[in-house]
Symmetry: C2
Subunit: 408 residues, 2 copies
């Protein structure tokens, strides 16, 4: 049903993207990006649950919840515009005003997003100048989308993009996405910054519902370091240019749309976890046969957020006691002597624990399995039928290095 | 009222301690310890809330809750006897039986405690042999207590001891304590292993109440890495040999006893946080003027457990945005634009944030303040009158190194 294509946010009809080097904080690189739709979009957003919300989060919540359409998003990397008070919020408005002017659209159709250092004010003159550069540079090629995905990176090492084609009522629709995020990643709503575009026609209430339902098992299931950012934002824009019959009820078409959305969100989530600051591998935990879905999620997240477990994964050490320990302090009740644990990766699969105690497995084989770029721990609770997967990464010297000295 | 003395668990009358090199896992060092009272003690315990409880935790809970007295505790370092099933619990009983025999006391007056790797079985022959060595070696000098405190260390770099004298009804009483713990420290009840002795006479119910009330603001307020161990244990033993009138109601004497207990528990807690695995400093967060005591505790703990904040402290980087961010995702609601933040240490005090935004402080002075061995962040919520302090440490390369390769 879904056909993955090599593209990003510019894949759907009518979407353009671009980047600029505005000199906000970084030198010798692009640091601003635009996502623009030729037609106004219905939009949905998911935002950080942190009490401390960055100014652009407040701005975008307002745009998505109170205004009619979204047509452009202006993004900057380097400064987060968080903890910046009234002044910071004013800069969001000035950015939107500047974009509205050069793009000839209403200011309340312009979203803004920022990522970087907390507590510094934006150099608004450079931002406004950057907006003009963006308006002039944007285009609809894959290359334009890819450049935008690179411009929003901070400590990311890879641009993160995805695109799929799907079919709604006989019409080919397309969805594309890009995101960034490597540190301060422990979304309780969504992650640092994610932008998903689609040319499918869909009712706003259903778009909102689809996004809300999907973040629970995608962006809310990743963690790099347990810190929920002030800036987490997912913006989903649908411009209806594919020409499909508008999805306005929860029918098969809606289901197909949700599948495409889930594919994009899950793919981007895993890209973030696998590119966690300083990490050497994507560390996944799947909890199976839990009593409830929520408990499965809680258990899986507890494992991938355990510093000790993450350090052991870095050391390729099958220190399963730390996994059982992390399940145990998750807040979920269970019988430890029913739990089985397996490790798996491209190098094979191995049962490490049966009924809560060691199977006497081969340490050499376990180390081999844990030495891959994508490692999964499967925890079988033998306590029901629900399952969930959480995505994290290992904890390395490099993480400490990056974060011990981020601002200098 | 309280007089701190240079001593440990052997300070109170009638308490002996000792150590032995039993060769359980470590080479060329002592790895077992005993704490023994000449007279049977009333005892209280606080144990891990982890669903996965180590065998010695289950044993000690039984002894403290269901049995009359506690007279000796046998401790080993190297293997935690956690996730070891019926076999592991059987070894607790065998250890207690062996101690009962050589000490000529009932087996149900013997506590056991273990710390180290999860999932390995204890080499019971060596443990039983070690118990005999301990019984022969124990003594009541400060040196004996100090040797015991060293024998229970794992990745600790310093022995952790405390002792105070206090006065109950005109009689001098003494309390001493030792503990260990550096990794897997995020007690939700108490910490890895802590043993407190006193010659004061006190009713068991009040002893239990005093311990229960005090862990909330001491051991439950420290975190090294957010991982709540399977083995966390605090054992408090009172042998009544000081000869004071028995404390059997919540009067001034009880209050004095609680003060002595709090002093010992707080001192030992801070020693653990300040000796966190790989850490270079004790990082304290005091939240003042919060709306409720529990919210103050939650906010303070959120700050000292934030990986990003801990890495910034390691880098002597006044990255206050991470502190405000950690307050924000703690789950406590507050107005970020009312918050003030200060850093203080032996090098001075500096206001960094006023009303949620930067004060434009001197980065050089902030770095100087953060370069000390004991650093405090004070967060003024301007939202009430309650306060709490949490104790943690910085996150360093060394932490990753220790935990990436702990078992080899």
């Amino acid at each position: 049903m879904l056909n993955r294509i090599e593209a990003g946010v510019t894949a759907p009809l009518g979407f353009e993207a671009g980047c600029a080097a505005a000199g906000i904080k970084y030198k010798d690189r692009t640091d601003m990006a635009i996502v623009y739709s030729k037609r106004p979009c219905v939009a949905a957003g998911a935002f950080t649950t942190n009490v401390v919300k960055a100014a652009p989060v407040l701005w975008d919540k307002h745009i998505v919840e109170d205004c009619e359409n979204l047509q452009a998003v202006i993004i900057n990397a380097g400064i987060a515009n968080a903890c910046t008070g009234e002044e910071g919020y004013g800069y969001c408005k000035q950015t939107a005003d500047a974009a509205a002017k050069v793009l000839n659209i209403p200011a309340d159709a312009v979203g803004v997003a920022s990522t970087g250092v907390i507590g510094m004010q934006l150099p608004i003159d450079r931002i406004v100048n950057g907006v003009s550069l963006l308006a002039a540079a944007k285009g609809e090629s894959y290359d334009d989308g890819h450049k935008a995905a690179r411009a929003i990176m901070t400590t990311d090492t890879k641009a993160k993009e995805v695109a799929v084609e799907f079919n709604i009522g006989g019409t080919k629709c397309t969805m594309g996405g890009m995101c960034k995020g490597a540190g301060m990643i422990h979304p309780n709503m969504c992650t640092m910054l994610c932008f998903i575009t689609t040319d499918a026609a869909i009712d706003k209430a259903l778009l909102t519902k689809a996004l809300k339902n999907d973040v629970v098992d995608t962006f809310n299931m990743i963690s790099v370091d347990g810190d929920t950012s002030t800036n987490d934002t997912v913006l989903l824009m649908a411009n209806a240019m594919a020409g499909n019959p508008v999805i306005c009820e929860e029918n098969e078409d809606y289901k197909t749309f949700c599948e495409a959305l889930h594919y994009c969100m899950l793919t981007l989530s895993k890209m973030i976890a696998g590119d966690g600051e300083g990490c050497t591998c994507l560390f996944e935990c799947t909890v199976v046969n839990a009593d409830t879905k929520q408990n499965a999620r809680t258990l899986a997240k507890s494992v991938i957020t355990s510093s000790l477990t993450k350090a052991a994964i870095f050391g390729h050490d099958a220190n399963w006691g730390r996994i059982l320990c992390a399940l145990g302090y998750s807040g979920v009740d269970f019988d430890p002597y029913k739990v089985d644990i397996y490790f798996k990766s491209a190098a094979g699969e191995l049962q490490i624990v049966k009924d809560g105690v060691s199977t006497g497995y081969s340490e050499d084989l376990a180390t081999e399995i844990l030495s891959q770029e994508h490692v999964t721990a499967v925890c079988d609770m033998h306590n029901g039928n629900e399952q969930a997967t959480a995505f994290g990464c290992d904890l390395t010297y490099e993480y400490v290095k990056i974060n011990g000295d981020y601002r200098s």
